[in-house]
């Protein structure tokens, strides 16, 4: 695969990743494997693209005070340990059942989100004690809706352990972990879609770093492939983050749903093909 092609693909991955709160795996893994790159080298590259997209997109989101830093401090613990475990078992294990499982979870979440597509996000009225203790609340100015949105999170005691699963999937498969993280923030913890996506975008950088360090030790990272990703993905992420700011929460959810559907189908196909 030429440097120019990988640069272009990485740019698209950055654009989609920044707008959907995910890494670039949904684009990179199928393209790289179709060009004959070994899946065990494609997964670390996908995880590296998560760091690139997180650094590029999250810098803009954080400056606008959208992600919740306190929520990320709590959720990252679980995500990092999950990612370390996932990456550690990649080399030794088969991934087929996990592809089916993760694809199934993602597609079922699509159905839930699709049913809720006409519902607007409703703020949490009664916050549980643990989420309150974690200071899981905040506000941000929504440029799409032109107003300040205040919110409170809930069920952090469930969201935290579930993030372990998101980290595991991310470290193991290189895709799906960030999608699960957004779903956990949105459906379980009741955060507004924009906060869910941007907090996920911030967390995936650290979550991916844990996974990458395991792949680095295993000698599975190919600098020849990493360079076009470092140069291409930030460009796409920059454009994606600019577009994201002007969208309403409803459109954000629609974009996320579309990418999620593609990802879910892709994972089932991976499971069937056995890669």
């Amino acid at each position: 695969m030429s440097v120019e092609v990988l640069f272009f693909i990485s740019m698209i991955a950055g654009l989609v990743g920044a707008m959907s709160g995910m890494g670039g795996g949904v684009i990179l893994i199928p393209v790289l494997t179709s060009y004959g790159v070994d899946i065990k080298r494609a997964i670390p590259l996908s995880i590296i693209s998560m760091i690139v997209i997180s650094n590029s997109a999250a810098s803009g989101y954080v400056r606008r005070h959208i992600p919740n830093l306190k929520a990320s401090a709590f959720l990252e613990i679980f995500a990092v340990f999950g990612s370390l475990l996932g990456a550690s078992i990649t080399v030794a294990s088969g991934r087929r059942p996990l592809f089916f499982l993760c694809g199934g979870i993602i597609l079922s979440s699509c159905v839930i989100l699709w049913k809720q597509r006409k519902e607007v996000w409703k703020p949490v009225i009664h916050q549980d004690t643990f989420s309150g203790w974690l200071d899981l609340e905040g506000s941000y100015y929504d440029h799409g809706e032109k107003k300040t949105i205040a919110y409170r999170g809930q069920r952090a005691s469930l969201g935290g352990p579930l993030m372990f699963g998101a980290g595991l999937v991310s470290g193991w498969l290189g895709v799906g972990g960030s999608a699960l993280a957004v779903l956990i923030h949105d459906l379980v913890m009741g955060l507004p879609p924009k906060v869910s996506l941007t907090t996920s975008n911030l967390i995936i950088g650290v979550m991916a770093l844990a996974g990458v360090s395991v792949y680095l030790e295993a000698g599975l990272i190919d600098p020849t492939l990493v360079v076009p990703v470092i140069l291409g993905a930030p460009l796409g992420a920059f454009i994606g983050a600019k577009l994201f700011m002007s969208l309403t929460n409803r459109v954000v959810r629609f974009v996320f749903l579309t990418v999620l559907m593609v990802l879910g189908i892709e994972m089932i196909v991976h499971g069937v093909r056995g890669i």
């Binding site: 690139v52 997180s54 810098s59 306190k70 613990i77 650290v206 360090s213 680095l216 600098p223 470092i230």
Partner: protein
């Protein structure tokens, strides 16, 4: 800084702005190093494509090892490219370290300081010591 100056500094401290700058600067440094590496490769070899491998090692060994091997001009581009990769990998780590300091000294939130420390301990081990 005296007590009043410290209090003023704390009041006006914007953590989000700092985190954003760390992420952005880390990305720029990474892109800068990689671009210099590719430019050197183009100067030396007349093309930007290259073959390079990473042996199994942690980030610290990987940077130090590359510095030792960088005597030859032909390997200089590889040093810059690998430094770019290292800068990329260390950016989220630096962000975590700064968050920890923020929770300790500015926010004085011990629970969030502990959460960040729980994340940093395994990352430090695997990135620099493992």
């Amino acid at each position: 800084m005296n007590k009043v100056g410290w209090a003023k500094w704390i009041t006006g401290f914007d953590m989000e702005h700092l985190v954003s700058s760390i992420l952005q600067d880390g990305m720029f440094i990474s892109i800068g190093f990689v671009t210099v590496g590719l430019f050197l490769q183009w100067v030396v070899a007349g093309q930007i494509s290259f073959k390079s491998e990473l042996r199994g090692e942690n980030v610290l060994q990987f940077i130090l090892g590359e510095l030792h091997r960088s005597g030859s001009p032909r390997l200089l581009f590889s040093l810059w490219v690998k430094l770019g990769i290292a800068a990329l990998l260390l950016t989220p780590y630096v962000r975590e370290v700064v968050s920890l300091l923020y929770f300790v000294f500015v926010e004085r939130s011990w629970k969030h300081m502990l959460f960040t420390a729980f994340t940093l301990i395994p990352l430090t081990y695997i990135l620099l010591l493992g």
